[in-house]
Amino acid sequence: MNTLPLLLVLLVLALFSFFLGRKRSLAVSKGNRGNYRAPNKLHSLPSYYGYSAMIYAVLPALIVLLLWSAISPVLIAKNVAASLPAEIHNAGATQVELTMNRVESMAHAGKIDPTADPIQQAAAQHYLSLAKNSQNIKTALVLLIALGGLYLGWKMISPQFRARNQVENVVKGLMILAASVAIVTTLGIILSVLFESIRFFQVVPVSEFLFGTHWSPQTAIRADQTGGSGSFGAVPLFAGTLLISVIALAIAVPLGLMAAIYLSEYAQPKVRAIAKPTLEILAGIPTVVYGFFAALTVAPFIRQLGEAIGLSVASESALAAGLVMGIMLIPFMSSLSDDVINAVPQSLRDGSYGMGATRSETIKQVIIPAALPGIVGAFLLAASRAIGETMVVVMAAGLSANLTANPLEAVTTVTVQIVTLLTGDQEFDSPKTLAAFALGLTLFVLTLILNIIALRIVRKYREQYD
């Protein structure tokens, strides 16, 4: 049987064992369900016995099924590769790999191409027969384990059996599994980025990367090409990221905060009912649309404005990207702040009004301080988004790595460079490609630090004011 039908069989078996377990629990307790003192009173509710039987039947079988499915193709491929004639092995590892690719694709397609190399045909045949054997053994094993498990689970059911605790333990295990998937994935990403970065730093010294002020990652692809010398000073990128983020936050934070204060403290319910969803629509616009808006509308406008007052403005400028990114972050900032401001208890407002404070005094001196941890959290989240934003910057700020604090010039950011480094034809282990990982790692460390600071601040205020 294939894996999918096998899974279906297990599913049916699961249902069946649930009802079987439930039924048996009722039988062994002889219907003494409500009576607390009856000698054969069930420890748990009948459905727990059902779940427990189900777990015994399905869980081990499922684990074996998954493991087998994961491991057997590897073993089969190894076996087939080993059985290839000596002449192919003598031709080197690449030749073996090439042949195996063909063999596997024929085997997976299920039909052997009669025009192919006879050696490959034979190998594919061998592969198929091994796979068939494996499939049969797997089916038999899984079904056997499932039935055995069911029998065991069924046998175990007695009034004293603590089915509820068992089921809870399994559920807890599943939760832990779910949590570890996320953690393990994160760890995996970090490690892979770390290793690639280490490879990069073997070619380019860390100090040059962190403190160099010239970024031009063009290197020769082949030895006979003349290309750029390739310099990897990341300072202009981080400066560009910082410049654009500062512009964006300088717009998003005051506007978002004031919008939030207006919505939660001043707006009539009717206005609020319309304004809040409208503001949230802004958050649903894809960033590429913002980028478009920045490149086609805002950047030319800034350029014209600058020329009108005699300033030279690049057609792609940090200001345009920052402005649009700021607008993009307003709903983010405002809806998070609105939530925390609304969470400030009414009794504090009453207390302040009762002292003869006006609305704005109350907001400034009571509500904002009380909501500060949340507002700081919102700010830092917005900052993380600004730092990580790519699309708007690609379209509006350009690709040239200028080290400048002038918002009217074109700059580029870390994320934009990662994109440009990884798109296009490149050898995977050239410094140019590896540089992307180093940039990613640095960015990751920066956002991590930002988040840790955010948590610290939030916790500090919590301790003080709860």
Binding site: Q268, S347, L348, D350, G351, S352, Y353, G354, Q464
Partner: protein, 303 residues
């Protein structure tokens, strides 16, 4: 206007299920006839009016959400340097009436207040009256202690700073110390004036709120069930404090507890279904009530 149906919609008779004691008049359980009777009465029994009162209120009506009426033709006076207790079943409008006296009801959208409310003869709902300044003259202490998320010092200094009562830091220090002393809290907190007010115990927090209220030297202090969230010992401390504060302030206190009203107040007003039923010396109200409904309430027949 059809007041009767309005009252019916908005008021629920307190625990009508448990008032079947034989001595309660059958008609008291029927909200319709009680409301009819209260409406006919025009004026509270006892002595609602005084010479030269601090607060003079006449025919006060309060509506929530423009239509739902919570107070009906309330007329009574509040004397100088007296503690007046407002008692009555839950939902009878005690808090609503109290909140008229410093226009806190203005902060609830859709609230309408009609009638005359005079503080020292001055109409507090007049067009040119600034509710913000009024609230500095008529302070308020709430049911749940609500210190601001600031230090103890800053909590007390909040009002004086708002209203510019101190010209320099040492004056402010004096105000804070005096207010905390008056509230009976200074000795307990003098070493930690800079730690957060929210870190104090419930009773201390409530005294901090009282200190905060008296720091702006109000003329009247309104208290809405100030001890209902506190344990008996903290309650006793606050009751003693209220008795001391009477020499400097007029105090209106809403309370659940009839013993508390009897212990600390000189006059008592009994509210029922949004009407002021009886106002008199506390002694008289509790020993010789003039209205059947008051008697039912103080003898515990309404729970």
């Amino acid at each position: 206007m059809n007041t009767v149906t309005l009252a019916n919609d908005s008021m629920t008779f307190p625990s009508s299920g448990t008032t079947t004691t034989s001595s309660v008049n059958k008609t008291d359980v029927d909200i319709h006839s009680v409301v009819e009777e209260l409406k006919r009465a025009k004026q509270a029994v006892g002595k609602p009016f005084l010479d030269n009162p601090k607060f003079k209120t006449r025919d006060v009506n309060v509506y929530y959400n423009q239509t739902k009426q919570a107070i009906f033709n309330a007329s009574l006076d509040i004397g100088r340097n007296e503690v007046i207790a407002m008692i009555g079943p839950s939902g009878c409008g005690k808090s609503t009436y109290l909140r008229c006296l410093n226009r806190m009801n203005d902060t609830i959208p859709g609230t309408k207040v009609t009638g005359d409310l005079l503080l020292d003869g001055e109409d507090i709902y007049a067009k040119d009256q600034d509710p913000v300044l009024l609230r500095a003259r008529v302070g308020m202490v709430f049911q749940k202690p609500n210190p601001f998320p600031k230090s103890i010092y800053d909590n007390v200094a909040y009002g004086p700073r708002l209203h510019g009562l101190a010209v320099n830091r040492s004056e402010l220090d004096d105000i804070v110390e005096q207010s905390l002393t008056k509230a009976g809290l200074f000795n307990e907190v003098k070493d930690r004036l800079n730690s957060p007010g929210t870190g104090l115990s419930g009773g201390q927090q409530q005294r901090l709120c009282i200190a905060r209220a008296i720091a702006v030297s109000p003329e009247v202090i309104l208290m809405d069930e100030p001890t209902s969230a506190l344990d008996p010992i903290a309650t006793a401390t606050i009751e003693e404090l209220i008795d001391e504060l009477r020499s400097s302030f007029t105090i209106c206190i809403v309370t659940h507890s009839m013993q508390q009203a009897a212990r600390i107040s000189q006059r008592t007003a009994y509210f029922h279904l949004g009407y002021v039923v009886e106002v008199n010396d506390t002694n008289t109200v509790f020993t010789n009530p003039g209205h059947r409904l008051t008697e039912n309430y103080i003898t515990g027949r309404f729970g």
